[in-house]
Symmetry: C2
Subunit: 194 residues, 2 copies
DNA sequence: GGCGAAACTGAGTGTGCGCTCAGTTTTTCT
DNA sequence: AGAAAAACTGAGCGCACACTCAGTTTCGCC
């Protein structure tokens, strides 16, 4: 079971950083010490290998966010927003390669023809956006978030804002740390009741 | 001069939608009616073709935003924010393929080894973020935007928020039109002075 | 019309790719 | 220990790729 895991691990990094088409099974073989045949013995094709990586990514993210929500209790909706945003950034650092992978266009190309890809991507995005929405709804109940905010749409916008900062970091365009405080302030201002 | 243009046009669409590695010069030849040799006669290599496309994209974006700013006058900074956001979404629709291209990771891969790519990408992002920043600074002068907002950092966050909505549309994840009003409301709330 | 330059052609070349398969080693279980 | 199953190997296959080049057509100008 050693080679199988090694292939998964190395492929995650390479697919995320170099891309799918630009990563050859030959390179994968060289870096893992497994023969090329071994890759195709465990995962039937390069595309199926990518699918298994995506499935694992979904499991990891759903699991991590689930445990985060269980372990915490929040004093108000607006505080919960801050904590969810912070946790998102923390997780994007912890699982850097997997978050990078989610930003790669080839996943969306495959999901056009392969419903397995789409299913997993939808599960991930629904999970993430749901947490933002849950926080907004909580805040609207306790009065800390403005009632004229559309919960789902604002959750999507908030999500894309936070995810954009992760992108800045991963693409080496801007230091995410330097934007952290301003991001929390912006989230708060965007949603807060007066 | 007919084939040269056709190659550029078709390559822009294919690189943006299918990706760089997944677009072959053979396919490019078939769709343009030009022989494969013609592609390499006009553009020395596939990579140089991509660079020329990026340069044209930079020119187009800088030109369009420049003319937008000249033709308009704004009653306040916060109004300017709304108009710049709206124009960004409008332009992303008008130049859909070029904006899609800017979201592709291979551009950032090339810019790691080829400074020409980086130069052009920086020019584009600086141009775009500068407009947001300019609007924020204007608003802070006329009092319509809160003074405790960091102009550059907030411009970056605003940019990534708007660009994220464009991504939703281009990746068919969510209808950008449905988010338009909420996006304007969010931008306003995020920056507005009280 | 003639001539040099620019545009264009497409068969050909070497290379690297994903993947197969017949065979070998390692593990598991009685 | 021995047999069956699982894991692993790597040479080899067919194919598609980016790119070349010697030759042909079209264009611009006097």
């Amino acid at each position: 079971m050693k080679k199988k895991e090694a292939i998964l691990k190395v492929a995650t990094v390479l697919f995320a950083t170099k891309g799918f088409a630009d990563t050859s099974t030959q390179e994968l073989s060289r870096l893992t010490g497994a023969a090329e045949g071994t890759i195709f013995y465990h995962y039937k094709s390069k595309e199926r290998l990518l699918l298994v990586i995506l499935e694992k990514t979904r499991d990891d993210i759903v699991d991590q966010f689930g445990r985060f929500l269980e372990s915490r209790s929040f004093v108000s909706g607006i505080e919960m927003i801050e904590e969810v945003v912070s946790f998102y950034l923390y997780l994007a650092g912890l699982m850097e390669n997997q978050f990078q992978l989610l930003h790669r266009h080839f996943l969306y190309k495959f999901s056009e023809s392969n419903p397995e890809f789409r299913k997993n991507l939808e599960a991930i995005y629904n999970c993430l956006v749901d947490f933002f929405e849950k926080a907004i709804l909580t805040g609207q109940e306790d009065g800390s978030i403005a009632s004229d905010v559309h919960p789902r749409k604002s959750a999507l916008i908030l999500f894309t804002m936070v995810d954009g900062v992760v992108r800045f970091k991963n693409d080496n365009l801007y230091d995410a740390g330097a934007l952290f405080n301003e991001l929390l302030k912006s989230s708060r201002r965007m949603l807060q009741a007066h």
